[in-house]
Amino acid sequence: MTTPAITADAPARALQREATPPWLMYGVLFGLLGALSIVLWGPIGVSGTYPRFIGALFRVFDPAYAEANPYLVKMGSLFKPETFLVVGLLIGGLIGARANREKAPKCEYTRAGETNERKRYRDAFIGGFLIVFGARIAGGCTSGHIISGMTQLSISGFIFAAGVFATGILTAKTLRAPRAGVPA
């Protein structure tokens, strides 16, 4: 029973050994880039740019509120290196997709067997809301807390990562089964 499985797996394993898997190569490069970032200007972090963007909007449309809200005052101006980092992410994504002549699907599903585009946009919107809201409660996201935080060996990074993977895995596993009564 086990023999066919092993022989079927063997070529795939041999192939994996020959070519460096992307996660290995880019993981090393990303790690070195993260260290370089700490030397050059500071640890990477993305989620703070969202409220700073909100602050910039308030400063245009309701400057009095922008000055009265302690959180917007605390987060400060949008003209920070972090904002440029986010602009860089956009450019990097564009170059990455172009370099490999890849056309990213306009819409990808996180629920198994789902094809409803409108529901996908709804999920992405709610997901987007929760990641930024959650990240702002914690004071950082995947980049600021998990990558930069754990790189600097900060306790907060380990706590945040534990929380993220606990509910992340639970949510993804729950969504895996197509819901009863909903055609796949």
Binding site: L33, I91, A124, F125, S156, F165, A166, G168, A172
Partner: protein, 179 residues
């Protein structure tokens, strides 16, 4: 100004790497969180392992050059924030940075995620004083690091964590068979 240029260039590199390992693909994130494929989790763990050793190695020789920024460990807020984040991560398949990369790639659902994120930041800003500020600072351990807790040198802890991560990476399969 110089810092902003460095940040921009580092962002371009990060965005490129994230795109190449498919960390900006919600379907790939969903597979990773279902533990069917571990490539993105491995990418993150390796990034941390290499980054930590490199950072504290450089700090050993040029401590004055480092721009460390340790975030405070206010245990309740950080944990609750992580739990909320995880639900959004599992549902949408994006994090605040990868949806920006996704827009660069031409993903349309990334726009929905970023709009949700901007709306989330707005609501957070509005409720901060009333609902967030009193809650999050409970059990604040301050800017605490693992080497401080263990009373061990930072570089040693970084190397130990790096080696431990790499052993686990080596042992775990990347493509896990579906149950």
């Amino acid at each position: 100004m110089t810092a902003s240029i460095f940040a921009l260039l580092i962002g371009v590199g990060m965005g490129f790497f994230i795109q190449r390992v498919k960390a900006s693909s919600p379907a790939m994130i969903a597979r990773n969180l279902r533990l069917e494929n571990l490539s993105v989790i491995k990418f993150m763990a390796l990034t941390i392992a290499v980054g930590s050793v490199a950072t504290y190695l450089i700090a050993q020789f040029a401590p004055g050059a480092m721009h460390f920024d340790i975030k405070p460990a206010y245990v309740v807020g950080v944990l609750v924030g992580g739990l909320v984040f995880g639900v959004g991560f599992g549902l949408g398949g994006y994090c605040p940075g990868t949806c920006v990369v996704g827009i660069g790639e031409g993903r349309r659902d990334a726009w929905a995620a970023i709009l949700g994120g901007v709306f989330g930041a707005l609501v957070f800003t509005l409720v901060y004083t009333v609902a967030i500020a009193p809650l999050v600072k409970l059990v604040d351990l301050g800017k605490l690091t693992l080497p401080e807790v263990l009373h061990l040198p930072s570089l040693g802890v970084a190397i130990a964590m790096g080696v431990a991560f790499m052993v686990v990476l080596k042992l775990l399969p990347t493509e896990v068979k579906k149950a």
